[in-house]
């Protein structure tokens, strides 16, 4: 290769990188995106195995800092119904963060059912309290901040829970379910429990708003509760359950959702917001480019 050729190649690479950075990096180091799928029945052990494989809690939790866990406690439903994150998993995550040296551990949730009832029936209120996390319903004004979404296509501004934005470690811990509006709700859609005006998203374009939000808010790690998944009548149920007994962990929110979609026998790009998020470069929704590792714990 002479100098001219080298310069041409460099220019072409630069152009390609500007146009679509993700593809370039995917080409250079194939399957750089990792998703860890832990199979098992003990939530605490599965969680620990999954996080260990991603570099351990030290990679995410800052000692003495604030840790925000975005669980799903949206519905007044029992843990067996699979509408909310498994309380044992929530407790295990809080304990693990605490062990890793986290300072305050907060679990903000703007639920759909009345908060008191959701937190009580889901078992997450009790689990969080025992483990030492603060589960709370954000109050208008005090607990919300306005976030500008410079990369948003439809959603340019959103009122979002302060603890989701101003935190040292953001962990997304959704449950995977069907959803009649969004097809599936996994990780990226779980943020709707952190925004004030969900109705606006429904009026404006749900899938685009979900993708837009994720351009600005990114969890350090996403842990999807797929110990049991609601495959009909979601997101609230009661619906038919399946038990994949899996925990899906990863740092790429799009890849995590893409893998979870396969549990519902869907192609990732069947879900419009996964496609939109992929196109916006938030992460990789193309499972062929994702390194999915299976573990047993």
């Amino acid at each position: 290769m002479d100098r001219r050729e080298f310069l041409k190649a460099a220019a072409a690479t630069a152009v390609a990188a500007t146009l679509n950075p993700r593809r370039l990096f995917a080409e250079e180091s194939p399957r750089a995106v990792r998703v860890v799928v832990v199979h098992g029945t003990d939530a605490a052990r599965m969680l620990s195995a999954g996080i260990e494989s991603l570099g351990g809690w030290q990679a995410f939790v800052r000692p003495g800092g604030k840790t925000t866990l975005k669980i799903n406690a949206a519905w007044a439903a029992t843990p067996e119904q699979g509408a909310n994150t498994t309380p044992a998993l929530v407790a295990a995550a809080i304990r693990a963060c605490r062990t890793a040296g986290a300072g305050a551990i907060v679990l903000p949730e703007n639920p759909c059912s009345p908060a008191e009832k959701s937190f009580q029936m889901s078992g997450i209120g009790a689990a969080a309290q025992r483990a030492g996390g603060r589960l709370y319903e954000p109050q208008a004004g005090r607990d919300y901040v306005t976030l500008e979404l410079s990369r948003g296509q439809l959603l340019r501004q959103v009122s979002v829970v302060r603890d989701v934005i101003e935190t040292d470690c953001l962990i997304n811990m959704p449950v995977a379910k069907t959803h009649n509006g969004a097809t599936l709700t996994i990780g990226m859609k779980n943020w709707m429990g952190s925004v004030r005006d969900r109705g606006h998203w429904h009026r404006t374009g749900l899938h685009q708003c979900i993708a837009d939000f994720n351009t600005a808010v990114r969890a350090h790690v996403t842990i999807v509760d797929a110990t049991r998944i609601m495959i009909t009548n979601g997101p609230r149920g009661p619906g038919k359950l399946e038990h994949p007994n899996q925990l899906i962990c990863g740092t790429d929110p799009v890849a995590v959702d893409a893998y979870a979609a396969t549990l519902f026998r869907l192609q990732p790009f069947d879900i419009p917001y996964i496609q939109l998020a992929h196109d916006l470069g938030i992460g990789c929704g193309k499972l062929a480019d994702v390194d999915v590792q299976h573990l047993t714990a």
């Binding site: 007044a76 429904h202 374009g205």
Partner: protein, 390 residues
């Protein structure tokens, strides 16, 4: 005085639990016994009305003197106008006519003047404070204040001439006098109750009015609390005491002002503009003193339809704007909304046999400015199968 304060405390319903909500109003035999008669229903609480009647037989107006918080307040206000103390005697005894009309009405399922029960007026006053400012909450408060006003102008007029509960006790006293007299004289021609022909006419008129009122149904029927009697009886049975309104944790029950016509003024209706009827709650069905709202177990309440949701396809975000929404389905606690694919988007369709009319869809519908799914009332409130829980 102590009793007044205790009653006020009960009426404010600071104390938790259903017994505290019923402890005051159950003492009124009008509400408990006539209500039970009209609703053809029985509750243990109704037994509380009996001691008041029994004591009324032995002690003249025992209830009015020692228990009734309304009477206490009216008397206290009346003292401010000592000059007019005796003037009430010139007024006709309206209370007696009201009472007899109520008895006649109750026999035919529509006790006409339940809302004039002093305990209902008293507790209604305290419900008014807990409501958002609206015309109806004003009117609810006005009953109590109105009686205080009457008492200031004409002391004792309320208790002795207007109050049907007072009249009931007077009637008891008169009957006792008659009974004693008969026992002493033991003559056959003394076998005449204190009732005159006019009184019987009063009962008959009450019955006739009841039949008439039951014909005048409000159209369209409003959404009532679960367990509410059929619309043709409800407005008569309801004492407007506000117990259900105060019991409701979601504050979805409001005193009506117009939706159910004049006959339904201040009766409880559900307002889904800010809240819905929780699927895990049956508080309002536990506190009704007159039986206007049937006592329902939570499981039965979950089977009771109080309304029916309707989708307006011209404003629905999914049907009209092709938005991915289905918020109504998401929030429905009873799996009463199906989704059908229309132009590639899931759109809601209500399953009439599953919908209970709880309003979860109505309140959460994101369509603006008007909700695209609204709940309409039912004149009859049928039981529905519960969603299959898998």
């Amino acid at each position: 005085m102590l009793v007044f304060l205790a009653a006020a405390l009960l009426a404010l319903q600071i104390l938790p639990g259903h017994p505290s909500a019923r402890a005051l109003t159950a003492w009124s035999p009008l509400m408990s016994l006539l209500g039970g008669l009209a609703a053809r229903a029985f509750s243990v609480w109704m037994l509380l009305g009996i001691p008041v009647l029994v004591l009324g037989w032995f002690r003249c107006r025992w209830f009015c003197r020692y228990v009734c918080p309304m009477g206490f307040a009216a008397e206290a206000i009346g003292r401010l106008n000592p000059k007019a103390r005796g003037r009430f005697a010139r007024l006709p005894n309206i209370g007696r006519l009201l009472l007899l009309g109520m008895v006649g009405g109750a026999l035919l399922g529509y006790p006409l003047f339940m809302w004039l029960d002093p305990l209902a007026l008293f507790t209604g006053f305290f419900s008014g404070w807990r409501l958002p400012l609206a015309a109806s909450s004003f009117v609810l408060v006005l009953g109590f204040l109105g009686i205080l006003g009457i008492s200031l102008v004409r002391p004792n007029a309320w208790c002795h001439r207007l109050c049907p509960l007072g009249a009931a006790q007077d009637l008891l006293m008169a009957a006792r006098r008659q009974w004693r007299f008969r026992r002493e004289s033991a003559s056959a021609d003394a076998f005449q109750l204190a009732l005159t022909r006019r009184d019987f006419l009063g009962v008959a008129a009450g019955g006739a009015a009841a039949l008439l009122m039951r014909r005048v149904g409000a159209l369209p029927p409003p959404v009532r609390p679960p367990g509410a009697r059929p619309e043709d009886q409800f407005t008569g049975l309801c004492a407007r005491c506000g117990a259900c309104i105060r019991a409701c944790p979601s504050r979805v029950i409001r005193p009506d002002f117009g939706k159910s016509g004049l006959a339904g003024l201040l009766t409880p209706v559900l307002d889904y503009s800010e809240a819905y009827c929780f699927e895990y709650c049956h508080e309002c069905t536990q506190v009704c003193p007159t039986g206007a709202i049937e006592k329902l177990l939570l499981e039965s309440k979950r089977h009771r339809a109080i309304g029916l949701a309707e989708v307006d396809r011209d404003t629905c975000l999914a049907w009209h704007d092709r938005q991915y929404c289905m918020v109504c389905q998401e929030f429905c606690p009873y799996l009463a909304i199906n989704s059908v694919v229309h132009r590639g988007v899931n759109c809601p369709v209500v399953k009439p046999d599953m919908c209970r009319g709880c309003g979860a869809c109505h309140v959460h519908c994101p369509a603006r400015p008007d909700k695209a799914i609204v709940v309409r009332g039912l004149a009859q409130r049928p039981a529905r199968p519960l969603a299959d829980i898998l």
